[in-house]
């Protein structure tokens, strides 16, 4: 066993490509970005890496996810981890991984970080004299941090886009909505604006990202408690990748992806067990995404339907480059159609 304490900083692109699927959990208490965590979970698979910080309720926040062949997704606000001043026992494996991929903050770095935190409100673009205006607006808009109903909060109106990340859009308080109906509808706010929003308590995300125009990516979205969810990403034709969606068996998925013609990658966590899951608009959906979706379907529920684009399946499972015959392939029919026979599978 080894011991650890103090503040550490992950080095950029911490990589551990074990080449095989392996999950390591370490029970250790630490604080990152103001949140208390009870452990760290590291998963490596086929050249990919994911590091998550475990919360007391069993959920986790992702620091780094890098398994889709593109640039890794890193939540910068979680780069610093503070194990506190009391030494904690950790495994040798975890300690060796930490010292190989992170470094303890020096006194100079700690002082710099303190100064940065004190100056946060005075970031470039906010003049000294306007601090009170910033506080006045956001204290009211977010009810001094107590706002939970963010319905239409940052929705736009057709071609008028008033919320601009870094200038007009600078929320003062963390956002953990209970209701997020049309919260970012027609929005052009980028990934960095959405990533800090905690949806884990949210029950209504209908139209939350409908006609989303903020970029190609959306971050990890925790929809485990959602009970009302119509057209969540509908008509977001520029959306290519949703890093992850946490669902539960009661999360309704009807109409989520209507018009998502550009969607290539999506990953799920949890069990999909509600009717009319429709990916018919997603003609570019990758094989990895189709496999992930099917592998998260409930084994036990009956009479439910899921629809895929036949174009996507024919391309994803094609037997040779350009054959576009995937829906006739044994891989598709034996490994997926033949296994999940409690679901009606429609190819549109």
């Amino acid at each position: 066993m080894a011991t650890i304490k103090g503040k550490w900083r992950w080095d950029i692109g911490a990589e551990d490509t074990a080449g095989y699927f392996k999950t390591v959990e370490e029970q250790v208490s630490f604080v990152s970005n103001g949140e208390e965590y009870v452990g760290l979970i590291k998963t490596t698979f086929g050249g990919g890496l994911e590091i998550g910080y475990m919360l007391n309720d069993g959920s986790s926040h992702i620091f780094i996810r890098d398994f889709l062949g593109g640039a890794p997704h890193i939540t910068e606000s979680l780069r610093i981890i503070d194990f506190g001043e009391t030494e904690q026992e950790v495994s040798e494996e975890f300690y060796n991984y930490l010292i190989a991929n992170a470094h303890e903050l020096t006194i100079a770095e700690k002082l710099t970080k303190i100064a940065e935190n004190e100056q946060k409100v005075y970031d470039a673009g906010i003049e000294e004299g306007k601090k009170s205006e910033y506080d006045t607006f956001w204290d009211a808009f977010q009810r001094n941090g107590g706002r939970r109903y963010y319905d239409r909060a940052f929705a736009e109106d057709g071609s008028n886009h008033g919320w601009v990340y870094g200038t007009s859009y600078r929320p003062k308080y963390p956002m953990k909505p209970k209701s997020a109906n049309l919260m970012y509808g027609f929005s052009r706010l980028p990934y960095a604006a959405i990533d800090p929003v905690d949806f884990s308590d949210c029950i209504n995300v209908s139209d939350c990202f409908t006609y989303y125009m903020g970029g190609k990516d959306l971050p990890w979205l925790d929809f485990r408690k959602v009970t009302t969810a119509l057209r969540v990403f509908a008509y977001s034709s520029g959306l290519e990748q949703i890093w992850g969606i946490q669902v539960s068996e009661t999360t309704p998925l009807s109409g989520w992806f209507t018009g998502c013609s550009g969607l290539k990658e999506v990953r799920f966590n949890g069990t999909i067990a509600q009717n009319n899951v429709d990916f018919s608009s997603c003609t570019k959906l990758s094989k990895a995404s189709i496999m992930d979706i099917v592998n998260h379907l409930s084994y036990t529920t009956t009479g439910l339907k899921i629809t895929f684009s036949k174009t996507a399946v024919d391309k994803a499972f094609e037997t040779s480059e350009g054959a576009n015959n995937g829906s006739d392939s044994s891989s598709w029919n034996d490994d997926y159609v033949g296994v999940y026979n409690n679901w009606n599978i429609v190819l549109a």
Binding site: D207, T210, Y211, L304, K305, G338, N341, N342, L347
Partner: protein, 60 residues
């Protein structure tokens, strides 16, 4: 150990037609085990395209 052979019915739309059960639309339907497919019927592609137009809506 129990070994079973599970039969799954596959419906394929005729050329120029689309399968529907009134909710979902597709060219191929793999019915869940035990489902005989009574709910499914064919419509023309024109009827399908009209349905898509009717279902497009404005967010209020």
């Amino acid at each position: 150990m129990i070994k079973e052979t599970i039969t799954r019915i596959k419906l394929t739309a005729t050329e120029g037609m689309i399968l529907t059960d009134g909710e979902s639309y597709g060219r191929v339907v793999y019915l869940a085990s035990g489902d005989e497919g009574e709910k499914w019927y064919e419509i023309t592609e024109e009827e399908y395209n009209k349905t898509l137009e009717d279902n497009n809506h404005e967010i209020i």
